[in-house]
Symmetry: C2
Subunit: 214 residues, 2 copies
Amino acid sequence: MPDPIRLLIVDDHAVVRKGLAMVLRLESGLEVVGEAENGRVGLEAAKNLQPDIVLVDLVMPEMDGQEMALALRKSNPQIKIMMLTGTEVDDRVFDLIAAGIEGYVLKNIEPAELVHGIHAVVHGEAYLHPDVMKKVVGRLQPQQTAPVSLTPRELEILEYMSTPNTYKQIANKLSIGEETVRSHAKNILEKLKQPNRAQAVLAAVKMGLIDLGD
Amino acid sequence: MPDPIRLLIVDDHAVVRKGLAMVLRLESGLEVVGEAENGRVGLEAAKNLQPDIVLVDLVMPEMDGQEMALALRKSNPQIKIMMLTGTEVDDRVFDLIAAGIEGYVLKNIEPAELVHGIHAVVHGEAYLHPDVMKKVVGRLQPQQTAPVSLTPRELEILEYMSTPNTYKQIANKLSIGEETVRSHAKNILEKLKQPNRAQAVLAAVKMGLIDLGD
DNA sequence: TCGCGCCTCCCCCGCGCGGGGGAGGAAAAA
DNA sequence: TTTTTCCTCCCCCGCGCGGGGGAGGCGCGA
């Protein structure tokens, strides 16, 4: 039997905190080494206790889960973080994921599933609640609802607009006149309601019309 | 007890296909309604059998899993798709996710976990194998390795450069001279090796220096 | 003390680009 | 057949921007 996973619970609701601790203490392989009632206290506790993982409630007074997570990630990046939140999936999940937070679960999760997630996160995996994952995956998928309708030619021009090519160069590559390209570009800017080429390309990326291609 | 989930298995290796079918048949709530040995046959079978979900091997002769998945998604979008693949996570996972494939598991998955994933997918959730999810999440995370070193001020200017603001407007917002902004911009373009503002912003997004913010 | 990086500001030049028009032809829809 | 959409091409104008210089002040580390 390996060393138990040392975890810290940070939640402003005592009943939730205690309940969570009680449930998790029943699990072999887990050791609740501390509790905290807000982000500020939790941050200090994490630094002192050096747990393997911190369960943090997202909404808290004084210092919320997001703030704490970002601060903790900065000061002690080796400590894993699992975010807890209510039933609705907050949009901040994307900021948190972008910041490298490994776990994100809703409070309606089954204890067994939470334990599973804790193990996954401690072992270096990412664990997202199904609802969260769905949302994240959905974000990855291009919006199939295209509020803007670009013609095939315009879409083609738009892709070239995301390259360093000038309109003249684009024209040459497509074997059409520069004025034609400029004409398409004007229509594209109007359709996308963007003031210039740079913004149009950015907007197009957001809309999934074109991709970065890495 | 609700109606069992009707599933179709598509894999070119008979032993894998049969084994999978046998294991899944043991599960109550699941009904293996068909098997196919490649994408072309599988596609026809799916259209005829109208299963709830199709388990598709990614690598197959004649028509591979990706082709089949895309074709099936087009013809019968209500049929869920779960992709099976070897141990390594293929880069095509991103294309598949982008195409709206709901599931993606590796063949080393535990049967119980697979059953769990099947249920999840049929119920409208997305199910990705932990390794796959890790890779996907990793893609979402900005690269922390910054090969280019911009000064704090330059980074600030760069963020403004991703907005419709002109240099003069940026200058006003920062309460500095327009020439100063232009000067920073010139340095930024040089450091990023980008020919113009649009490319610089795109490159910055790719490098994770700035985010789209949606 | 002497650099060196950073922030600040200035000049000139040329051109790419956005915005305002218009026009013709081909193909698809009405 | 008429109308509409799309692609093609043209004009003018103003200005934002990229590229080439230079310069002064400030703080920090050598």
